[in-house]
């Protein structure tokens, strides 16, 4: 069944003029599709806006980053897991470093409170962080002045430290603080570098707190007991985050001698895992929105079918005439299918435009984290595809009815 381009152009023109001639009726008929498409596209716009926000946040955080924490399983009595069994030890970190090929950088991190003094100022209970030189890479914190920590600092437990700008302020150190000395619990430390201030919109208040960093080996010395260590590590690539996670888990279980079936005494968290979870959640919501649109398109489709049946019976004589001048049943069928599709696509277009407007409206809501809300191209295309399919599906029966009309009876129709 092949028709001339002229047939198609005339059929489409006729479909448009039918819709326009009955524009009120067409609008009411297409309402189901308009509402369905507008609501889905705007939900998708909101989701994609939120997703863009959250994902850029995660990515800036480092999607390939992993954390390891000590963790007491809560399925057994506490007495079975004394603190010492749970605590992460430095040698365990070195073991992970040695046996996890998917890791690029790893550092233990330990935090504790000390008294800090400069020539100008003395402060109590300031948090000091001890870490390996890998920390710069693992936490993505570089220096803006001076130098980063190196392996010699760590191995020979040099009394050196890094500060952030807030710490310089609080200790009233000169702006060019590199080269100055500070006292930590009475020990003299040389300031070798200034680390850049942490920037995060969503997580934590990084930027404003004073931070002091010292080599991990020294941090171990300065603390008396009950040392709490966590680990930050970086997978070689985001794609192997999950692999890195299981490598760490297996290594830890092995060195801690955890029997199969027993719970982990630690917890490994991959940022990527959160990203995947978030993506899965977003996909779930999109699917639900899709389901809702499916239902409203079904309702809309029934309206389309009804109006097309009305159209066929109103235009029975016209159909008879078209057949008399040579329209085949296939041509009549095609024409009414095109008309139903045009009606649905027009509804889809209006729906997409409304969705687009709603998306623009969302970006203007202050503090809603929706400034990136936009109807993605795939949603526009999908809306049109859906509309066309509804037109095809629900236009089929009326079109078949038109195609099967007997021309003689059709021409006799009042």
């Amino acid at each position: 069944m092949n028709f001339s381009p002229y047939f198609y152009s005339q059929a489409i023109k006729l479909a448009m003029s039918q819709i326009w001639a009955n524009r009120k009726r067409s609008l009411l008929t297409a309402l189901g599709i308009i509402v369905g498409v507008a609501s889905t596209t705007s939900v998708i716009a909101a989701l994609s806006g939120l997703k863009a926000n959250v994902l850029t946040e995660f990515e800036s955080f480092g999607a390939n980053r992993l954390y390891v924490f000590p963790d007491r399983p809560d399925d057994k009595p506490r007495s079975m897991y004394p603190r010492d069994k749970i605590r992460i030890k430095p040698w365990e970190v070195r073991e992970i470093q040695a046996s996890c090929p998917s890791l690029r950088a790893i550092t233990p991190i330990t935090e504790f409170g000390v008294s800090v003094a400069s020539d100008e100022k003395e402060l109590e209970g300031i948090t000091v962080v001890g870490m390996w030189p890998d920390w710069h890479e693992a936490e993505n914190r570089r220096v803006i002045a001076g130098r980063m920590f190196n392996t010699i600092d760590e191995r020979s437990a040099r009394q050196v430290c890094l500060l952030n700008e807030a710490a310089i302020d609080e200790l009233r150190l000169p702006a060019e603080a590199v080269g100055s000395h500070i006292l930590l619990d009475g020990r003299r430390f040389l300031v070798v570098g200034i680390v850049e201030t942490l920037q995060s919109r969503m997580f934590g208040d990084g930027g404003n707190a004073a931070e002091i960093f010292i080599p991990f080996a020294l941090a171990m010395k300065l603390q008396s007991s009950d040392i709490f260590i966590r680990i930050t590590a970086l997978a070689t690539r985001t794609e192997v985050s999950e692999e890195a996670r299981s490598e760490i888990t297996q290594t830890m279980r092995r060195i801690r001698g955890i029997h199969p079936g027993d719970s982990d005494t630690f917890q490994v968290v991959a940022i990527d895992q959160y990203i995947q979870q978030f993506k899965a959640m977003a996909a779930g919501i999109t699917a639900i929105a899709g389901g809702i649109v499916g239902i409203s398109l079904l309702v809309g489709g029934i309206g389309i079918m009804n109006i097309m049946l009305v159209s066929v019976s109103e235009r029975t004589r016209e159909i008879g005439l078209r057949k008399a001048v040579g329209a085949t049943p296939g041509a009549i069928m095609m024409q009414f299918l095109l008309e139903a599709m045009a009606l649905c696509l027009a509804g889809g277009l209006v729906g997409v435009l409304i969705g687009k407007l709603l998306a623009i409206g969302m970006t203007l809501i202050p503090g809603a984290s929706l400034q990136h809300a936009d109807v993605p191209l795939w949603a526009v295309l999908l809306s049109f595809a859906f509309s066309a399919v509804v037109g095809l599906g629900f236009g089929f029966f009326p079109a078949l009815k038109a195609a099967r009309l007997d021309p003689i009876e059709a021409l006799r129709h009042e």
Partner: protein, 237 residues
């Protein structure tokens, strides 16, 4: 041109069989102008519909332009209608929202002819309108035309594809006597230009424009005479 043999048409309404045609034999040659007459219910429209390929006979054979068309598929019949047959109806059947020109172009929408340009389509439609003397009403819509003018647009549409036969079932049924003459004048002129014409009518005045009159009664050919003899016989009868 047209060769009909032992044509029968039976309609079934419930248990009842209505014999609309009971064995009609008919030959119509090229460039004849024939009137079909007969009482209401005698089978005129039934015969026209079969000759016009809108309907299939129950029995018998029908050849159009050397082609056996009885028992063709619906799609094949549509093609025959498009290329070989021009219909004119009692109630014009023009599309209200389209101009005279667009109405005349309609058969080309369903044409099998490939590669027709827009210019060529318009040229043909204008030529058809010229032949029915409506070159000055090209962009008018049906509501802006008189009854006679509407029927002339319908005739232009019917002759657009240069059909083997131009068929009209009571084309003047909705017209007064003045416009009847106007429309019949057009049929006569087309006939003079070589067109084969077949007209169903109740009116002797209309039949008088034709050369030959076929009279039906109860689904059978009652008489088939040249107009002069038919008119004489009719007077006697």
């Amino acid at each position: 041109m047209i060769r009909v043999r032992a044509l029968r048409k039976v309609y079934r309404v419930g248990d009842e069989a209505i014999h609309a045609l009971r064995g009609v034999d008919l030959d119509i040659g090229t460039n004849e102008m024939v009137a079909v007459m007969g009482a209401s219910g005698s089978g005129k429209s039934t015969l026209m519909n079969i000759i016009g390929c809108l309907d299939q006979p129950t029995e018998g054979s029908y050849e159009l332009d050397g082609q056996r068309v009885s028992h063709m598929s619906e799609a094949a019949l549509a093609l025959v209608r498009n290329e070989k047959i021009g219909f004119v109806f009692q109630s014009f059947e023009l599309l209200a929202r389209q101009t005279a020109l667009e109405n005349v172009e309609l058969p080309l929408v369903y044409s099998r002819e490939a590669g027709l340009t827009g210019g060529e389509r318009t040229r043909r439609a204008l030529q058809a309108l010229e032949r029915v003397k409506l070159s000055d009403r090209v962009t008018h819509r049906p509501s802006q035309l008189s009854g006679g003018q509407k029927q002339r647009v319908a005739i232009a549409r019917a002759i657009l594809n240069h059909p083997a036969i131009l068929m009209a079932d009571e084309p003047t049924g909705n017209l007064d006597s003045v416009t009847t003459r106007e429309v019949m004048g057009i049929f006569q002129q087309l006939h003079a230009e070589g067109q084969t014409v077949l007209i169903v009518t109740h009116e002797n005045e209309v039949a008088a424009f034709c050369q030959r009159v076929i009279r039906l009664r109860d689904g059978l050919v009652l008489s088939d005479l040249p107009i002069a003899e038919d008119a004489a016989g009719h007077h006697q009868g």
